[in-house]
Amino acid sequence: MRSFRLRLFVVSALIVATTLGVVMAIGWSRLLDVEIRRLDSRLCMEARRLASQRFGDDDLDRLETDLRAKLRLALPRQLMLRIEPADAAASPLQSGHWLVGLSIDRLPWTPATDAGADGRSAGDQPAPAGRGRRGGHCALSSFSGADTRWRAALLVRPEGRGFVAADLSAARDELQGAVRSALAMAVPAALVLTALAAWLLSSLTMRPVNRLRDAMQAVNRKALDQRLPNAGEDREFKELIASYNAMLDRLESSFRQSMRFSSDAAHELKTPLTVLQGRIEMAMGRTELDSVRSDLADMLDETRRLATITRKLLLLSQADAGGLAVQRVPLDLTAMLDDLAADAPLLLTGQRLTCSIDRQLVTPGDALLLRQVLNNLISNAVTYCPPSGWIEITGRRQHGGIEVVFANACEPMAGEERARFFDRFFRGEAARRRHAQGSGLGLSLSREIARAHDGDLTLEPSPPTAVRLRLWLPSDDTNFILRNAGGSTMTASRS
């Protein structure tokens, strides 16, 4: 199942991580920028030195070493320098490493605008554009050559020109090294922070959701008049709570309406039934004529059937409206099943019955309703079982509850007929063919009764020529008295 919380966590982690990444990238480029400007100012400073002082050929090695140290360049091929005195007689001085075909004059020079490029502090008076103080001005250029990028500074003074170029990748390598060692510490910390932030975010979001869920769970159908309080909630959740409460209002009103309907219908239907039944009973007691009495007896039994169907319908509508109120007392289910087994010989029409009922099956329940369930199940089995078939009743303790299975042979029954087993007013092919009486309400009501007892009634998978109905009820082990342990098996059959 997808978890909203997990999704929230992942999304927040992604957002935080992306933000961190962007911040780091910007920081990196700013750092690089600063580094280049620092380099620029050093280059300009060195170029000024080269232009303003006089150097001889002997000075070249020393100069190169000195510059490399100052610019922090490890290798000779990372530095280029050239000094061109204004005096045409003096020969220019050039470093040993020089790119083939490099001409200073053909490079795209831009004047250094930054005051810092003069090698002075930024607090000084800004220099006029294109002109350095003390006569020279520094120009900067970037170019590529020998598989790398170069940064160069050129300073022109009356005495001559000074040119210094440094391998940019060297500077960047140095910076990268420093950043990498810093990141080695920062990245795990950032990851931990990211996870922490994401967890915090998702928890923060989930907290009101969890609170709402708990509150909603507390509102069940027995307490439909409860409403969620919205004091202290954020605006968004206030709206949610208002919607939920509005839904509860509608639910409660329809629940009350159906309860009232069921109650009113009970009264309206049962009063005429009572009058009818009472009148017929009275008339039966007064007549001495067998033919009249026989008619009246039939009418009485039909009235009774009508009353039974009415009662079932009302119980079902009550179950639909919000559950049957069940008064639970410890019930000896074993005794009830034994009664049923003892009755069986009277009911059977040739079927073979096997019962295996554990002793001391005690369930908390309503005797009237549960007896009705058992009666339903046995009449169902007898109705659907052909005369030569078998019926099997098992009652046993299972997983902290009681399992009662009514299994019987039947004529081959299609899956679609099985699927309709619990439909109201549904009567199977076999029942109709045999003109068996019954309203078709028994099984669906039995299931409601089982559920009202925190149990269930289910149709178990079985071959097409058998039906297995499983009644599960909670067990009440606190109340049984230890009598004789063990189970008993009895067989009853009627020829």
Partner: protein, 229 residues
């Protein structure tokens, strides 16, 4: 014995009152809850038959008032409403018995008799007699003269039901409901089979006397215990 019937439906009172009168009770009828309550406090009733849904004061309120005032007259509740809740509530409030509508007047009368016997300290229907046949509801023993009759649980209940009122005709549906409970399919022949077995057992003990002819079939209607001479 005077019975107070508090029932607002005139049509129901119209057969309950004569039905109870025919069975030896004197019936006083109230149609309104407030009148009913006033009558109960006047006293002199052996039992009260109380409908739950009443105009004025409803049945459960009357019951509550009665018990609060320590009026312990036995009460049989009649209810048509959603019976589960009423049954639980009614018994909790101190009703002595409960009948769901529709009900048989015969059943109501039997319940009142049983209640009155209980109030008077007798065992309810402890022993029923019919000729030489004696049925003990406490020990669940049936004797014919000195002979013990071995009956199953259902056979015993059925015989006891018929012996309650000798001469009264019970339909198969009535017997089925009383002995097997609500939901049995009235068209099964379980009642006939059971009666046949009881007759067989009685006949084997007392073929000529009370055995064979004690339970009479009433053609087309049902069964009854042979009326007492």
């Amino acid at each position: 014995m005077k019975i107070l019937l508090i029932e607002d439906e005139q049509a129901i009172a119209d057969f309950v009152a004569p039905g109870l009168s025919a069975r030896g009770f004197e019936v006083q009828h109230c149609t309104d809850g407030n009148d009913g309550l006033a009558e109960t406090f006047k006293g002199g009733h052996a039992a009260i038959v109380l409908d739950i849904m009443l105009p004025g004061l409803d049945g459960l309120s009357i019951l509550t008032s009665l018990r609060r005032e320590s009026v312990m007259t036995p009460v049989v509740l009649l209810t048509a409403r959603n019976e589960l809740g009423d049954r639980i509530q009614g018994l909790e409030l101190g009703a002595d018995d409960y009948l769901a509508k529709p009900f048989y007047v015969e059943e109501l009368a039997a319940r009142i008799h049983a209640l009155l016997r209980r109030v008077n300290g007798e065992h309810p229907d402890a022993e029923l007699r019919a000729g030489r046949l004696r049925l003990d509801r406490i020990t669940r023993e049936v004797r014919c003269g000195d002979e013990h009759v071995e009956l199953t649980g259902r056979e015993f209940s059925l015989l006891a039901y018929l012996m309650r009122t000798p001469g009264q005709v019970y339909t198969r549906g009535q017997i089925l409901e009383h002995v097997w409970g609500y939901d049995f399919d009235p068209n099964t022949n379980v009642v006939d089979v059971c009666i046949k077995r009881i007759r067989g057992k009685l006949a084997s003990i007392d073929a000529l006397g009370d055995g064979a002819g004690l339970i009479e079939s009433v053609r087309g209607s049902g069964y009854r215990l042979r009326p007492l001479p």
